[in-house]
Amino acid sequence: MLPLLATMFITSCATDDGNYNYLTDEEAGVLGFDTVDTQYKGVFYRQFNIGDTINYDRVVTYAHPERLRYRWFTLKTNYNIYQAEQAGNSMVYPPADTIAHSRHLNYVVDLKPGTYFIYLMAEDSVTGMKKYLNPAGQYIVVNQPGNQGGLYLLSEKNGNSTIEVFTSPLMLIYGGQKCLYDYYHQQTGHYLEGKPRFIRGTMTGTKSKNGYLVATDRNLYRLNSVGLQTMNDWNSMFYNTPETFNPQASWYGNNCDFLINNGKLHVLYADKTNDRKFSDPIAGDYVAAPFLMKNTRTTWRPVAGAINAWQVIYDQQHNRFRPYYAQGSQISNFKSTLKDAIVDANAVPGDIKAIFQSGGNYTCVLTNVDNTPKLYRYNFYNVVDSGNLSASGTRSIIDLSGCTDIQRAKLFASNTPGYAFYYATSDAVYSFSASSGAITSNTVYTCLPGEEVTAIYAWGSAGGGWPTSSCCFWIAVWNEGTQEGKLIQYEVDVNYGIPNSMFGPMFGAPENPVITTGWGKIVDMMCLDAE
């Protein structure tokens, strides 16, 4: 009996046709998006304003395109991350907002200002197979109305100051070329009192760098990026207004607004309760040069025991660099320098012409030592203070004797993604590469008759997913005879400092340089998004 039962079981398990119809791989198909985005490349590489039209399409590959249905939707982010938000007593993820049901997107932006992820979903209506595409690669930005992004030009007009704005295709995120002449006056109906000194990013009440600190020779203004509304001026910007008006430098970083006025450092902590007022001058015996570091520390894999200063100043009274630590009430000091250090941060030699932060986050000093121009390079960024703050071994001191006219230089520019720096005399602009081993400078621009260089700017410490954020370099010139300013935009190689057309052709902006005219006398430039 048992053998018979066993046989019955075995044969009953031999085959099982079941009641399923399996599709072959060919029959099922693979749903995919074309990886080469040519026609609509760059559509999402920009910020959007309410009312802008987004025109986008993507080729979908699939065995059964007739079965596909599409859905475009957005996900609202919170601080650029899609995460749960408080809704009553619960934490809920914001629901998706469907904006179109066709593969080709022709959408007039009506989202509220903020950041969003945008997706295209293709779905097989028979099998339910889905595929998602994020064409932007990351989040998109919808601007506040009245918030104009771009390169901000601080210009002189009739003895007062105004702000003008320039955007170009190479800048990617601003949607093409625009010249917004006299923009501040157009927005507000008046000018800023005094001749221009500098313009930098700042906070306007939150931790975001969303405003502009504008210094003239008569006043200091904190302007909101929306409509350039004045939030504060000199008299309302301090707990105790300094006796001497002399704003020299400012920088917003580490959630702190730093200002150097008349050789003293003032701070405003945006991540602490504040009244949007700068502190009393940070205590200590020092006279700060008009220099502030752009990047002083990192939170991504920091070196254990690194300096971690919130800011580093150059004390020109004692010829030394000095750190300022978080929430400190006084300036501090670096450790004593070891004898075998190539450069000494506690005793900077010579007659200093310029101090700036460059590639590798090195702090560079252009100084004349025994009538020889030299570049001294220090590193205070993500390193331990072991008594040797030399940036690059023997290359911590570079002879600049081969740099044309550097002794006559009046203007300097640099950025931290690259090792080149730029300098300008009245009639020409040059660059020098500190990483290539070069011993001579490159001529970037020579003024036409009647022209004078008034400002230079290399943007891009922000970097991070923005391909051209480090390779744009601008020169502003002024023609006193014609009373007209000219702006020259170059795409440059960040390490060699020479014009280089790489990203421009890639993103449909092959012209290099791009020259625009009709500007005021540009004295300073900055781009909030690239600082």
Binding site: Y239, N240, L268, Y269, K272, T273, N274, D275, K277, S279, D280, P281, I282, A283, G284, D285, Q327, S329, Q330
Partner: protein
Amino acid sequence: MPILALIFMGSCSSDEDFYYQDTARVRLVGPEVWTVGSDSLTFSFVSYAAEITQQVMPVDVQIMGNAVNHDRIANIIVDPALTTASASQFNVPATVLIPADSTHAFLPVTLHRDASLQSNSVRLRIIVAESSDFAVGVNEENHLTFIWNDKLAKPSNWNDLKEFFGVYSDGKYRFMLENATPGTTFNIETMSWALLMSYKIKFQNALRLYNDAHPGQPFTDENGNLVTFD
């Protein structure tokens, strides 16, 4: 009905009955910021710099009645029974002139500062006295009491302030008060972090200036400890 009408008519008095009809009198109203509507005030010199040796309290002497077309004199006296301050510790004019066509005038009561106030409070009570022009006003406002001192006491909220100013000492606290805006009370409830930090920086700067001006004799407290704001 006619009787009722007569009663009503008789009970309706003229508008003039709503106006003051009594003898001209005066009353005293202290400075609102100090008295807060009461009949006394308390004041401390401790939060003022050492060179501030007196404080003038403007007392508003208000008339009860109509203004007239000539000057009038009100008399003010010190109530000795309720005054502990010595004559050198205050100054009160004996009379105040109410100008013609005016309904009030200011009486400057000056409070003086001396060393004794660092350990004791003193009291002064002034009262309205009858004059040929004015009788004494309502009881509730015919006097004012002043209490003042220069006593230093550790703020009850010092634990909240330690983050900014460190360990407490009387010497440190007096130094802070001398270098702060007069009348400052440090409080994390009413001051932002940034304002308190700004004060810390201010005191650091002031301390450095003091120590630079006194080489070899840095600022120490009552216990002989070096004062710092770390």
